[in-house]
Amino acid sequence: MSHASTRPPETGSWEALQRELFEEDLKHAPVIHPAVLKESPIIEVDNFSLWYGTKQVLYNITMAIPRGKVTAIIGPSGCGKSSLIRSFNRMNDLLDGVRYEGDIRVDGQSIFSPSQDVIELRKRMGMVFQKPNPFPMSVFENVVYPLRIDGVRNRAVMEQVCRRTLEAAALWEEVYDRLHKSALELSGGQQQRLCIARAIAGDPEVLLLDEPCSALDPVATAKIEDLFDSLAGRYTLVIVTHNMQQASRVSDFTALLYMGRLLEFGPTVEVFSRPKLRTTEAYITGRFG
């Protein structure tokens, strides 16, 4: 950073133009399409800023995630997408030296208020990570893990949940005969679907998905995208993705994050076909960085 600032500003290059565009756009940001405001919000991010130590990674984010819809968060690598969705279920609490300002509310309740039970919050939000992280147990135990930690002991209930969630995650057909084998023997794509099944087994209201398909081949990705379609409506989905096609295919709303700032947030169709900011246009058409 310091290196860049000591350099004399170059003119006439594509990078310079881009920076100029961004600085221009920042004056208008964030651009929030009116359609978003009509939705009933489940997660409200209110002027939220985040620091790792002394390094600020999120700047005054204000947005409302619509209930029961699929929201995609896009943006270049390192812009703070993961940091943002990890804030929703307070996974950032686990890191040392994290500091934040502003507020995030779920159903109108501040998640940072002392009365908020973090465990309860996380149970309301299933999370799927970029890399599949199955536990070192059987497929069955993986899926019913949220029930186990809730102290459920009824075998029938667990079997039912296992079957339902595995079917929802389009995995049942592939694993019904190896439920009691180690989950680590599954393929990467199966493992990721298993993680999704696990995330919905706890019956959350929101699913936070951080680049869930980045480690998968197109076939597995397609299966998981179908899965999102079937989950939409029942759950609120927040998907972080680098894949523009994926965002346009699966999401109802799209938010563009750039350098820790929210640039544009609106219905996916509008953001992709009629972006209001030129940076957005540059980013989604791939003429970027």
């Binding site: 686990l94 465990i119 149970k123 999370m127 070192p136 809730d150 680590l184 023997e185 599954l186």
Partner: protein, 597 residues
């Protein structure tokens, strides 16, 4: 580098060329064909060094283990008994244990009788040294020695013969006896003469006498032992009353009266048992075997004293093997006799295994909990780093220091307090206040704690954070995450730590000498007597047994093969314990980690 300078760029090009040429260096072409690994190691002095060091280390370990294994396994093989006619007219008869070449001292040579001197000088002139044999001559009550050196030049005509009638008697006391069976005696009357008949009679009577003897042992140990314990209990309960109400109180008087009555009853019981024992002794004493030694002396051996007897020079290979197996079985299943230099080491095997398992039970929870706290809960900082360094240093503390600590803390502080609280009646004789298997196990648990902590910490650190996050994101608490996800995945690593700890603990001797190991323990720490496990009892240990046999034994030569056999056994036991743990770890790995990755 200045590209404008042609000389310079040429030099660079040359250097580059030489670098690129390296793989085809002419020297490597000279490498012997077929020795690809030499080619691989070519130009890799580090590889040679590492390989060499590994080879040397492996070689030393193999030689040591091989030596122990061979000596230990051969320890029980029955040898031939030779009879040596000496120039002096003496006859030396026994098993040749080993031989060596030596040059006698000047004075010893000069003091030799004339005939021998001549032969000795000749031997030295011809070969530069004299060969001598260590002969196990036994017959301690007649000769006053167990072993004797015989020099080659002492033997008349260098003749050795293997008398086919000679017998070896292994006895409960006084060591082995070598002699010719002359007569078999029952009730003072000779019932058989001549080797064949005597031996037949002996082999018929021996099993019977052995079972009588077993009965005798049982009476002495179990029945008399029980009566003695009852007497002790009666005394203790009386003492308890005295302690509670004061020695002059009416209750104490009453208790004393009761005690005396009980004591009298028990003494009567003891008398009947002792009468039985006396009768059995007489019964056993009816059989005896009369033996003539090689140098013409006569002795009468009570059959009850004989553990095992055989005619060594008549045994074929199978017969020797049977003697070998019998001795081996005695070694692992029986108690020691003759100051540990004969018999078995079963109590030591038992003590070693039990102590190691107790130690593992003791060290596992503490080590794992400490490691979990350090790795998962404690905030990284100065204090945690200091604790970690301290733990690592603990691993370097000499083990005897742990022994001293164990003695001071467990025996004299904790044990003495337990005695004060619960065993006051027995004082001043200590119960928990002196060394015992519990304190020894805990001392070793302390000693091996750092190993387990470090291994567990590493295993925990190796569990990827993504798995922890996955569990927390499901709404699990930190403890649920650790217990259900992190620990299972770290378990193989924890077991590795346990394996290392057990290997270290089972072989440790120095601290044990202070906290409970004894040369000869009268009772095992586990027996049929309530409460079946007696953690306060001192115990025997193979490591200490080796030390005791090798360095404290009166009869060092006889103990020598036992040292090797015991060492081999200790190595095997540690190996087996480790194998069990490794098997467990492999099973866990299979269960948790599957075939992938």
């Amino acid at each position: 580098m200045d590209p404008g300078n042609p000389v310079d760029s040429q030099a660079v090009a040359h250097r580059l060329a030489s670098v690129y040429d390296q793989p085809e260096h002419p020297a490597s072409a000279r490498v012997v064909r077929g020795a690809a690994w030499i080619a691989a190691a070519y130009n890799e002095p580090g590889l040679w060094l590492m390989g060499g060091a590994l080879l040397i280390a492996l070689g030393m370990v193999t030689v040591l283990l091989g030596y122990i294994a061979i000596e230990g396994l051969l320890a029980f093989w029955p040898r031939e008994v030779v009879s040596l006619q000496l120039e002096t007219g003496e006859v030396v008869c026994g098993e040749i244990v080993r031989s060596e070449r030596y040059v006698p001292e000047k004075q010893a040579l000069n003091e030799l009788p004339e005939v021998l001197k001549e032969r000795a000088f000749q031997a030295i002139r011809q070969q530069g040294a004299v060969r001598r044999y260590l002969v196990r001559i036994g017959n301690y009550e007649l000769t006053g020695e167990h072993f004797r050196w015989v020099s080659e030049f002492e033997i008349a005509g260098a003749s050795r013969n293997l008398p086919s009638d000679i017998a070896v008697f292994e006895r409960r006391a006084w060591g082995r006896f070598y002699g010719f069976p002359a007569a078999f005696v029952v009730d003072g009357k000779i019932v058989a003469e001549g080797v064949a008949q005597v031996w037949q009679e002996f082999e018929r009577a021996h099993p019977q006498v052995l079972s009588l003897w077993g009965e005798l042992r049982r009476l002495e140990r179990v029945d008399l032992g029980r009566i003695n314990r009852r007497m002790e209990e009666a005394r203790l309960s009386c003492r308890e009353v005295e302690l509670r109400y004061g020695e002059d109180s009416a209750e104490a008087d009453e208790a004393r009266r009761r005690w005396q009555a009980e004591q009298a009853a028990l003494e009567a019981q003891a008398a009947t048992v002792e009468a039985k024992i006396t009768k059995l002794r007489e019964e056993i004493g009816r059989w005896a075997i009369q033996v003539k030694t090689a140098d013409g002396k006569e002795a009468s051996l009570p059959v009850g004293e004989i553990v095992r007897a055989y005619l060594p020079n008549r045994l074929n290979w199978w017969g020797k093997f049977r003697v070998y197996l019998a001795r081996l079985w005695e070694f692992v299943s029986d108690e020691p006799r003759e100051a540990n230099s004969e018999g078995g080491v079963f109590p030591a095997i038992f003590g070693t295994v039990l102590m190691t398992l107790l130690m593992a039970l003791g060290v596992a929870p503490f080590g794992v909990v400490a490691a979990i706290y350090l790795r998962e809960y404690a905030k990284a900082g100065l204090v945690v780093s200091a604790v970690r360094i301290a733990v690592n240093n603990l691993a370097g503390v000499p083990s005897i220091v742990f022994g001293v600590f164990g003695l001071g803390f467990f025996c004299y502080t904790v044990g003495a307090s337990i005695d004060q609280l619960f065993y006051a009646a027995r004082l001043p004789s200590p119960t928990f206040g002196s060394g015992g298997i519990l304190w020894a196990s805990l001392t070793l648990a302390l000693l091996t704690l750092p190993v387990v902590i470090v291994a567990t910490e590493e295993a925990l650190a190796a569990v990827p954070n993504s798995v922890r996050e996955g569990s927390l994101a499901c709404g699990a608490t930190k403890w649920q995450t650790i217990r259900r996800v992190v620990l299972p995945q770290a378990m193989p690593g924890v077991l590795t730590g346990m394996i290392l700890a057990m290997a270290r603990g089972a072989g440790e001797v120095a601290p044990l000498m202070l906290v409970g190991v004894v040369k000869l323990a009268p009772e095992l720490p586990v027996d049929g007597e309530f409460p079946f496990f007696h953690p306060e009892r001192s115990f025997m240990h193979l490591g200490f047994h080796i030390y005791d046999l090798g360095f404290q034994s009166q009869n060092a030569e006889a103990a020598r093969p036992m040292v090797f056999a015991t060492a081999l056994l200790l190595v095997l036991i540690i190996f087996t314990l480790n194998l069990a743990a490794i098997y467990l770890r492999a099973r866990l790995r299979r269960r948790f980690l599957g075939a992938r990755f």
